[in-house]
């Protein structure tokens, strides 16, 4: 490539054709020069209302129903309408294909920037970072969310929405204590989750026996569980994952309630690597977009004006306030500000 390339776009307004051209140009740089290893990408242009919707479902394209998501939506919406807070330029999802939402009101330069940032930078990070590889299943997540949403909706019909809400409220309150922090189980395969749930239900139905209901409850300590050491061995204690323990051991829960705990736990685990790599993930995406935008400029494919607009956005995002800046909450002077 030399500086004789044609401009990819001019002016501020974006078009789908221009986004196509920009995507192809970035794709070439990313693959031939940076040699990034990427999931296929699905880019969706969304409105600010849709962005608020996405916020409400923790950034995911679909989610089961729970009042807390609606509450979140109202809060975000109020802040946004009052102008107290802007919205993100993009949301990117650790899925295969990698889904990127970009905002309709972005200028063409911002679209170029966020595509380079999210569809290439974050995408490469999701696919290659060992925590994501070990703990998340990018190919299965969207289908799993669809299953979770349907499962919980079915539970609402069968058991009443109040009963479902009680379980979800309780499970959400334990979400932070619902992750395995150290690898021990096999890698996650979300596609098999639905099948596993069906098998569990079938097994129960096949083995249901009215007689068992008439046997009086046991009293006293079950044999072999009378010392702490034996109990610990039998119950796999200590256990840091409270949701996991409840799903497996809580004496009174119904199977559908266990499945809901499992769904909440799966989501907690899916998001856990994101919490552990916020800084690096943004750093990698920022390094990638900066590199790509400069390369596009060198190749003569974006205008001086576009480059200046990009640099303005870039420096606003990477700017580090001083340690005593009032924008930091008083208790956490060392935390980095996220854009």
């Amino acid at each position: 490539m030399t500086a004789t390339c044609e401009l990819l776009y001019s002016g501020a307004d974006w078009t789908f054709e221009a986004i196509d051209r920009v995507y192809a140009a970035i794709d070439e740089i990313a693959k031939s020069e940076l040699k990034l290893d990427l999931y296929p990408t699905q880019i969706e242009v969304i409105t600010s209302e849709q962005m608020l919707d996405a916020y409400a479902s923790i950034g995911m394209p679909l989610m089961y129903r729970h009042w807390s998501f609606g509450k979140r939506l109202l809060q975000d919406e109020a802040l946004y309408r009052r102008g107290a807070r802007g919205l993100a330029y993009e949301i990117v999802i650790n899925s295969n294909p990698c889904i990127c939402y970009i905002m309709e009101e972005n200028t063409m330069t911002m679209q170029t920037l966020v595509i380079a940032h999210a569809a290439f930078g974050h995408n490469h990070f999701f696919k290659n970072n060992h925590l994501f590889q070990q703990w998340t299943d990018a190919s299965g997540i969207i289908d799993y969310l669809a299953f979770a949403r349907r499962f919980i909706a079915d539970c609402e019909v069968q058991h009443g929405s109040a009963a479902v809400e009680r379980v979800l409220d309780a499970a959400h309150s334990l979400m932070g204590q619902g992750v395995h922090r150290y690898p021990k189980a096999r890698p996650l395969d979300l596609k098999r989750e639905r099948q596993r749930e069906l098998n569990r239900r079938r097994h129960e139905e096949e083995n249901y026996n009215e007689l068992w209901r008439t046997i009086p409850g046991q009293t006293g300590v079950p044999r072999g569980l009378d010392t702490l050491a034996k109990r610990r061995q039998a119950l796999n204690l200590p256990e840091e994952n409270l949701l996991y323990f409840l799903e497996k051991r809580a004496p009174k829960l119904q199977p559908w309630q266990r499945e809901i705990l499992r769904i909440v736990r799966m989501l907690a685990q899916y998001f856990y690597p994101q919490r552990q790599t916020k800084m690096m993930n943004e750093g990698a995406a920022t390094y990638t977009h900066y590199w790509i935008m400069n390369r596009l400029y060198e190749q003569g494919r974006i205008t001086d004006g576009a480059m200046l607009e990009f640099l303005h956005a870039h420096t606003s995002v990477v700017f580090q306030p001083e340690f005593d800046d009032p924008r930091y909450p008083a208790s956490t002077p060392m935390r980095s500000a996220s854009p």
Partner: protein, 174 residues
């Protein structure tokens, strides 16, 4: 930090050679970066790659805040003696495992009322906020179906710091 790692790979100083012998002057900045992106998380990444040069440029320093003492102490600054301590202190800020309380189920009282017994291993004397802990314990008891007890224990001395009042299930979830 990403820019700094690229610089170390392509244009290292003598100091970088000492601190980062594996990557200093190796060239191929993007390959060095990609290896880092693959193999680390925030905490270990800072611990491995935050360079003395960047610590100087950002004028990082470390404050030791002991609630028992009347003064704050600046115990490390961006100098030869301070780099490692500043770096590991910053890295710990990014350790999610430290930010989340370490709470584990340690026993179930099978002889009595099937009470679930939890332990919070307390770091730096930071106890759970009662206003948050209680509602969560109620939720936990609701799911467990029997009472729940939480004990907070000092992680370094094993001393019992606080015993939360036992919480029973409020309503039958099942």
């Amino acid at each position: 930090m990403m820019e700094d790692i690229a610089r170390i790979a392509e244009n290292p100083t003598e100091e970088d050679q000492q601190w980062f012998p594996e990557i200093a002057g190796r060239g191929e900045a993007i390959e060095v970066l990609k290896t880092a992106w693959e193999n680390y998380r925030d905490e270990s990444f800072i611990l491995q790659y935050l360079s003395p040069r960047l610590i100087r440029r950002m004028r990082l320093f470390k404050i030791h805040d002991d609630a028992e003492q009347p003064h704050l102490v600046v115990d490390s600054i961006h100098d030869e003696r301070g780099y490692r301590s500043v770096r590991s202190a910053l890295a710990r800020h990014y350790d999610v495992g430290r930010a989340d309380p370490d709470i584990q189920i340690v026993d179930v009282d099978l002889a009595g009322e099937r009470k679930l017994i939890l332990q919070h291993r307390v770091e730096d004397g930071i106890l759970l906020d009662l206003n948050e802990a209680r509602p969560v314990l109620h939720h936990l008891a609701d799911l467990w179906g029997y009472p729940v007890e939480l004990v907070e224990i000092d992680a370094s001395t094993d001393a019992v710091l606080k015993r939360h009042e036992e919480v029973g299930p409020r309503r039958e979830i099942c």
